[in-house]
């Protein structure tokens, strides 16, 4: 419970920080950042064996954010984990900055450059094959969008990862049911996801995507020996800000001053409520 509370508080603070970064940059993928921030929180604070000190260790765990547009969430978590000073987030998207509006290896802690969808899973499949060839202990993780799954490259990699029995590979689907143009079910239906991944030879678990216990449980260990794992996280796009939740236009909406103030107030209220509760 104590652990859960710590993670909940952290996520609330991450949400505040990523909104601040988006507001300051005047750009960002707000809805998807908010849907995946709890997943990133769990990965970087509970699962991944990687730190600024071990980032060049060949045995480090690897995380590649395939849904690269949600870069603000990644930058905020990396700053919190000490990969670079948080002040550097002021320069996101600014002229001459290393902090491009999609993940870039110019930023410490970023494994691979992403931003064009459908690249993370093939990259991670390669890393996982290398891990097997080297008998290395590391695990490889990637985060995919539910809309992103329309890219055929995902399914080419899914086939290969199962073929090579990559149980050191875990894909997480941020299944927020929305993409730019609206509901994924209407744009290009990617369901039923369990049946699809299972038929490709993957071990599948669907979890409530904002439930820390469930996320940790699904990610702590590979789901099954000899198979790649996929965790389908049922999330809410815009999670945590009442007026952003499940609203497609917040995909890349940047809050105006009033919306920003309201969003921060909601998060502050949630933080106070939680802090008022004895651990």
């Amino acid at each position: 419970m104590r652990e859960e509370r710590e993670l909940i508080l952290k996520s609330l603070r991450y949400r505040k920080e990523l909104l601040r970064v988006i507001k300051n940059a005047g750009a960002g993928h707000t809805g998807g950042d908010l849907s995946c921030i709890d997943i990133l929180n769990v990965l970087y604070n509970r699962i991944l064996r990687v730190s600024p000190k071990t980032f060049s260790d060949p045995n480090r765990d690897r995380y590649v954010q395939s849904k690269g547009h949600c870069v603000e969430a990644l930058y905020v978590v990396l700053a919190d984990r000490g990969f670079f000073p948080a002040e550097e987030l002021e320069t996101v998207c600014r002229h001459g900055s290393a902090f491009v509006g999609h993940p870039t290896r110019k930023v410490p802690g970023v494994e691979q450059n992403t931003g064009a969808l459908g690249h993370g899973l093939p990259l991670c499949t390669g890393m996982a094959i290398a891990g097997k060839l080297d008998g290395a202990p590391y695990r490889v993780f990637t985060l995919l969008g539910d809309g992103e799954l329309a890219e055929g490259s995902n399914w080419e990699a899914a086939m290969a990862a199962a073929h090579y029995g990559l149980d050191n590979l875990t894909a997480i689907v941020d299944c927020n049911t929305l993409q730019i143009s609206g509901h994924t079910a209407d744009v290009m239906n990617s369901e039923p996801l369990e049946a699809k991944w299972a038929s490709f030879g993957w071990a599948v678990r669907r979890v409530p995507g904002h439930d820390f216990g469930a996320l940790i449980g699904a990610l702590e260990h590979p789901l099954e020996k000899g198979k790649p794992s996929v965790v389908v996280a049922n999330t809410t796009k815009g999670k945590g800000i009442s007026f952003m939740e499940n609203v497609a236009k917040w995909h890349h909406g940047v809050p105006n001053d009033d919306e920003y103030a309201r969003a921060i107030a909601e998060l502050d209220a949630a933080i106070s409520a939680l802090e008022g509760v004895p651990a």
Partner: protein, 333 residues
């Protein structure tokens, strides 16, 4: 708190545009969307194919008014182009609309084989082209599209410079019997001076001159035009300006005439300096046996600096001031 969106033009450039009587119009993307909507209204055979790009392509009204004439493929650009080729083969007038960066990289093999080689007259519409996406970075820039498409036979390559060129290009593409690639940005543009009709393979003479020449394409043409006016006033240089909307077919006559007449020639494009309009002109001029002072203004062969489109243009001198500088540097060499 948020960074103010920097303008594409300096105050001096804006003043000069006003002096030349140029009026700011809308983005080519908006002009494209309205032109396509008008075409769809009169011809039920017109079909738009999208890859979660309906909003980015300003096709919301198209989708509402002609729901049967829009085919959504989801985030799957290879499928978008393959399906577009299939639709075209079955007699549809197909506009495949997707960000230029993904359309011409991800789906390049579909363009090469299913569209160009198989001669299915798809209109490939690359939206938010060049560095329109600004700080979203290299994954989102299309600085390679002219280069890769120039190396593939049988695709016209068209980058309109203003709303007029856009409207004409969309109409011509709809009736073209071979594949066409159209490339649009999303920033508002000045209406260029009128210079006759629009034809594929014809450069438009925006300003006469026989000392020097700018040969420009797409949304950089305005900067070349302003630079020419600036050079006349400051240095007394009479600078010709050609708008070259079609990179293929290229108006070889107009380019060679500029090279023969003028002492220096600078090409301008929102593309890598490799493989675009500049190198097309360089090859043409060299093959004609002409030795000229020649420069290519574009995005250099480096990791593109982070910034908005305007900041990137300024950083690499794709502005009135930068182009004037490049031309005088070349002429004084």
């Amino acid at each position: 708190m948020s960074a103010p969106a920097p303008s594409m033009h300096s105050a001096a450039a804006k003043t000069r545009a006003e002096k030349l009587g140029l009026r700011l119009e809308r983005a080519n993307l908006d002009e494209f969307a309205d032109t396509l909507l008008a075409l769809a209204r009169t011809d039920a055979n017109v079909v738009a194919v999208t890859s979660d790009s309906r909003g980015s392509g300003k096709l919301g009204p198209f989708g509402q008014q002609h729901p049967k004439q829009i085919v959504e493929m989801g985030i799957a650009e290879q499928n978008l182009v393959g399906v577009a080729a299939g639709l075209a083969s079955a007699g549809k007038i197909v506009f495949a609309v997707s960000p230029a960066c993904f359309l011409t990289a991800r789906a390049l093999e579909q363009i090469k084989n299913d569209v160009a080689y198989s001669d299915n007259p798809v209109v490939l519409v690359g939206i938010s082209a060049g560095v329109s996406y600004g700080a979203l970075g290299s994954t989102h820039h299309s600085l390679h599209d002219f280069a890769v498409l120039r190396a593939i036979h049988n695709v016209a390559i068209v980058a309109p410079a203003d709303n007029f060129e856009t409207r004409e290009a969309v109409r011509l593409a709809a009736v073209a019997e071979t594949p066409v690639y159209l490339r649009f940005g999303k920033a508002p543009l000045y209406r260029l001076p009128s210079a006759g009709t629009f034809e594929l393979g014809r450069a438009r003479l925006l300003r006469p001159g026989s000392d020097a020449a700018f040969v420009a394409t797409g949304e950089t043409v305005i900067h070349a035009l302003l630079a020419a006016d600036f050079l006349k006033e400051r240095n007394g240089i009479e600078c010709r300006v050609l708008s070259v909307p079609s990179i293929r077919p290229l108006d070889t006559g107009a380019v060679l005439d500029a090279a023969r007449t003028c002492r220096a020639l600078v090409t301008v494009e929102e593309h890598s300096v490799h493989g675009g309009l500049g190198e097309a002109c360089a090859a043409l001029i060299a093959e004609a046996g002409l030795a000229r002072r020649f420069g290519i203004a574009g995005l250099p062969d480096e990791d593109t600096v982070t910034g908005s489109q305007a900041e990137i243009f300024r950083h690499y001198g794709l502005t009135m001031e930068g182009l004037a500088e490049k031309m005088t540097g070349l002429m004084s060499r």
